[in-house]
Every structure is written in C-alpha cells, then in structure tokens.
C-alpha cells in the first residue's frame, strides 16, 4: 500500500495540500484524514447544484455540503412555457434527492454570513460550517432603487417572475384572468441581466397563449435597450406566427422605463409618458445575489470579479463565485453558462486540493428560445481562457440559427430545445 502513495498524494490526503505542518497535527483526531477536503456550496441552482455533482464525480472522497433553502428548485428556463400554457409547474421543479444519494449533504436553509479569514459560513439555522473551499452561486438580486415607486412588496400586483417559483404562477394567473383585447406590457432592463433572450421568449410564449385564447390582445415590449439578443430571428418569427400582435419599443424611442404607478398598473418613461396594461411585467435591473454583497464579493458593478480560469474570487481567496453572480467575461448570464461554470470550478477546486495541474478550461453556452410551440431558435458559443482576455469566444465557432431556413428547421430546433431542457436539468439535478 505504502508504495502506491507518493509524497504528493500523502500531502493531498491529509491536508488538501494547503498547510502541511498543521495538517499533520489533524491526522489523529480529525475526519479530514478520510476526506480530501471540505467544500461548502451556497445555492443549489444551475451553478451550485452542477458544481456539487461534478465535485463528487471528480473526487468521491470530498466532504461536500450544499446549502439551499428550497426543497424543490423551480427553473427559470421553461417558466416562459408555463406562462404560455405549454408546461405545468411540476414539470419545471427539481429535487435534491440525487445529490443526497451521491453522498452530498444537502442542508435546506440559507447562508447568512461568510467569514473569509476563519473560512466559515454561518447558516440561518444557527449552524456554522467550516470549509477548505467555498463556492457561492446565489443567482441575482434586484436593483429596486433604480425604478421609482417600486419595491419587492409589489410582486403580487407586478410580478417580475425573474426567479422561478411563485411569481411565475402569479403572472400566469393574471394572464388567464385578463380580458380579450387587453395589453400585456413587458419591460426588460438594460444589460447585463439574467438571460438576454428571456424577455423576448416570454413575449413569444405569451403571444402564443393570447393568439389561441384572447386574439384581440397585444404584447407591448418597452425596452431599456436599443437592440436585443437574436433580434432578427425573434422578429422574423413574431411576424410569421403572430402578425403584429407583438410591438417592441426601443430604449431610444421611449422604451426606457424609470418608474411605476402600482395602483394604475402603469409604467412611465423618462419623458413622463405612461403606459397602462392589463398585465404588467416589469423586469427590474439586477445585481449579484444578496449574500455576495454581504460577504464583500462584489465590485462597484454590483457583480463578482473572479479569476475566470478557476472562478476564485478576486477579492477573497478560497471562495469561488459562479453563475449569474460572477463576472464571467464573454459568457452571458444563463443557466447553461452557470452549469458550465460549475464544472470548470469543480475541476479547479479538485486540482487545487490535490495539488495537480488543472486542465485548460473550455466553456460552452447555447441559449435556445421558443418563438412558438414548434418554432425554436438558438445562439451558441464556445469559449476559452487567456490571461489577457479572460473568457473569450472562439471566433470560428458559434453564432445564431440561420435566417433563411424553412419551418422544418425551426421545428427541429424546438424539439432540441425540449431535449436540451431534459438534458441540462438531469445534468444539474439528476
């Protein structure tokens, strides 16, 4: 047995390769001798749940704890299909059973405080967890202060539904209750925000529902931006499927919303012009999730700067930030990207704890969107890392679906959109 263990492995074995002298002291009395390190993960969404799973796959001897308040995670991806009546909430909810079966400890509570020097996380239930490495994947929080008269308490009246869950149900209920001939307003924020094509897929899915059930209604998009993701493809699809049901107002043509009139269910722009709707879906500007702010992991952009090769925080060592909360170079804030960060970050952590060389990271993203139930489009990219550029898109690869193809191609991509959802959710929670 001895012969099979070289000195480097010995070091990995006892101390995660960090501080050898103190690790030796731990051998006799600590359970560290049977694990190769303790990793705590905050957030069981696309980033955190994937990272936990891949950490365990890369190194079954790790002691992994996943902290996530929800028993069942409701995905944002495909929540637009729920709004369109194509899916039920159950079908976009995922449990943590598979994680538990893998031996990952899942604690259904939230992290309240991080002590980066003592390397401890304090949980809302009073427990304290010690870690060798911490992964933070808390998703987003909202910049309520950027919208006049708007506060989190207004969600019943004006649900943003930009986190999967109860607000998706509220928004769906409002859509089914609205009269035929009404207007649904969607107001997307400026960049950067979670899921660049999301608001336009939402407009599509709502139009799909209205066309069948309330054909005299309209969808009005009041945009803070002057252009948006996959714009030509969305517009081509809208015209083909919904005629002029969807109207898009650019940020430089009065689309930029600065405030709300909750009682009147109306939004107003910088010129003071008001737009009232039967259903109003204001998507507020965003920033990294609360715990990232509390733990001093953000810079003045409101997001978390990281080493884009390892996702280790630029502000505190041994803490990695992944998913929407991180500043991940050329990658968009998507579930696909967060899933990918989770794997790269897991490889970085296992390599660091074992003192081995991390393989060169490779990253991928694809955002599928449904324009109609049988009409799918996508934007794809492959990314690499360099010290100068951070994460950059490989020029030869990627791009959007072709513009000049027939309905068969769109139908095939719609099928693959559903295939993607099945795959990524099983890759993340299965």
């Amino acid at each position: 047995m001895m012969n099979h263990i070289n000195r480097r492995q010995f070091i990995q074995l006892v101390g995660g390769g960090s501080v050898l002298a103190s690790s030796i002291g731990l051998v006799a009395c600590s359970k560290q001798s049977t694990t190769s390190g303790r990793v705590v993960i905050i957030g069981g969404g696309f980033g955190g749940a994937t990272c936990a799973k891949y950490l365990q796959r890369f190194d079954p001897d790790l002691d992994i704890t996943l902290v996530e308040p929800k028993q069942n995670f409701v995905t944002c991806p495909f929540s637009n299909l729920v709004l369109g009546g194509l899916r039920e909430m159950d079908s976009i909810s995922h449990s943590y059973e598979a994680h538990s079966k893998r031996g990952i400890k899942v604690l259904h509570t939230s992290a309240r405080e991080i002590d980066p020097t003592g390397k401890k996380v304090q949980l809302a239930d009073g427990t304290t967890l010690e870690y060798d490495r911490l992964v933070v994947s808390p998703g987003i929080d909202f910049r309520w202060e950027d919208i006049e008269n708007m506060s989190p308490g207004d969600a019943e009246k004006l649900p943003h539904a930009w986190n999967g869950g109860p607000q998706t149900v509220t928004l769906r209920r409002q859509l089914t209750a609205m009269p035929d001939g009404g207007t649904v307003i969607i107001a997307p924020p400026a960049n950067p925000f979670r899921c660049p094509p999301g608001p336009y897929e939402r407009a599509s899915m709502i139009a799909s529902y209205l066309k069948q059930n309330k054909p005299k209604s309209k969808v009005l998009i009041l945009d803070a931006k002057t252009k948006f993701s996959k714009q030509p493809l969305f517009m081509q699809g809208w015209e083909a499927l919904y005629g002029d049901m969807i109207e898009w107002v650019s940020g430089d043509a009065g689309g930029r919303i600065t405030g709300v009139d909750i009682a009147g269910r109306a939004l107003y722009n910088e010129l003071g012009e008001e737009h009232a709707g039967s259903v109003v879906n204001l998507i507020p500007p965003q920033k990294a999730g609360k715990i990232a702010h509390a733990a001093d992991l953000v810079d003045d952009t409101g997001w978390c700067p990281v080493n884009q090769r390892t996702f280790e925080s630029s502000r505190h060592p041994d803490i990695h930030v992944i998913g929407d909360a991180s500043l991940a170079g050329a990658m968009p804030k998507s579930g696909f990207a967060a899933n990918n960060h989770g794997k790269v970050c897991a490889a970085a952590i296992v390599s660091a704890l074992h003192n081995t060389t991390m393989p060169e990271p490779s990253y991928v993203n694809t955002c599928y969107s449904l324009v109609g139930p049988d009409y799918g489009i996508s934007v794809a990219a492959v990314y690499r890392y360099s010290d100068e550029e951070g994460i950059y898109a490989v020029k030869e690869a990627g791009g959007v679906s072709p513009g000049d193809v027939g309905p068969d191609f769109r139908e095939q991509e719609a099928r693959y959109t559903r295939g993607w959802y099945a795959s990524i959710t099983s890759d993340t929670w299965g």
Binding site: R7, Q9, S351, Y363, A380, V382, Y416, G419, W420, S423
Partner: protein, 103 residues
C-alpha cells in the same frame, strides 16, 4: 519539502486510512474537461434523456467522424456545426476517446 518532518509511523497511520483514496481523482484529464461541456445538451456522460442524440455507447470512431463532418459542414446539423468549429483535430480526438472510454 525535505525540511518537513515525516515520522514514518505517522505515514503508516495515514496510509492505512487511505483505502478510500482515489488516485484517479487526483488528475482531471483534458478530455474530461472538453467533454463535460457537451453534457448540458447530450446528458451526463452522454446519456441524453430526451430528443438530443445519446453519445454514450458510441465508438470513438463514430464520434470523431461525426464531429469532423459537422465541422466541415459535410454533415447537416441545426447546432453542431456551430459547436464543432470550436475544437481542433487533437481536441476532437480527446473528446471521442473520452466518451468511448466510458463504455
């Protein structure tokens, strides 16, 4: 390193604890890194549960061929050309060997 004390007895104790130590966990291959990014569409280890084709159970030759042909455009695809163009010949071989190695 040689500065540090390594009492032989201690080394032995540790070695006997190490039955669960997994040497393969220590090094993550380049092939694994590249291939794990396919899993979001093709499922973990290529075991797709839905409409996207499985990679699990396919030979290295099949995967390598398919990727080369997607890349050149010889084989039609909705999305694979946009992905395959992101990988070199050597990387394609690493990926094909990785998936075939799971069989």
């Amino acid at each position: 390193m040689s500065r540090l004390p390594f009492p032989a007895a201690l080394l032995f104790t540790v070695a006997s604890f190490s039955v669960s130590f997994n040497a393969s966990a220590a090094e993550i291959s380049q092939g694994a890194m590249l291939s794990n990014s396919c899993a979001a569409c093709h499922g973990t280890d290529g075991k797709s549960p839905g409409a996207i084709p499985k990679l699990h159970g396919k030979s290295a030759e099949f995967i390598e061929n398919a990727l080369m042909e997607f890349r050149s455009g010889e084989r039609d695809s909705t999305v694979m050309q946009r992905h395959a163009t992101g990988y070199s010949d050597e990387e394609i071989t690493l990926i094909a060997d990785y998936f075939a190695g799971l069989n």
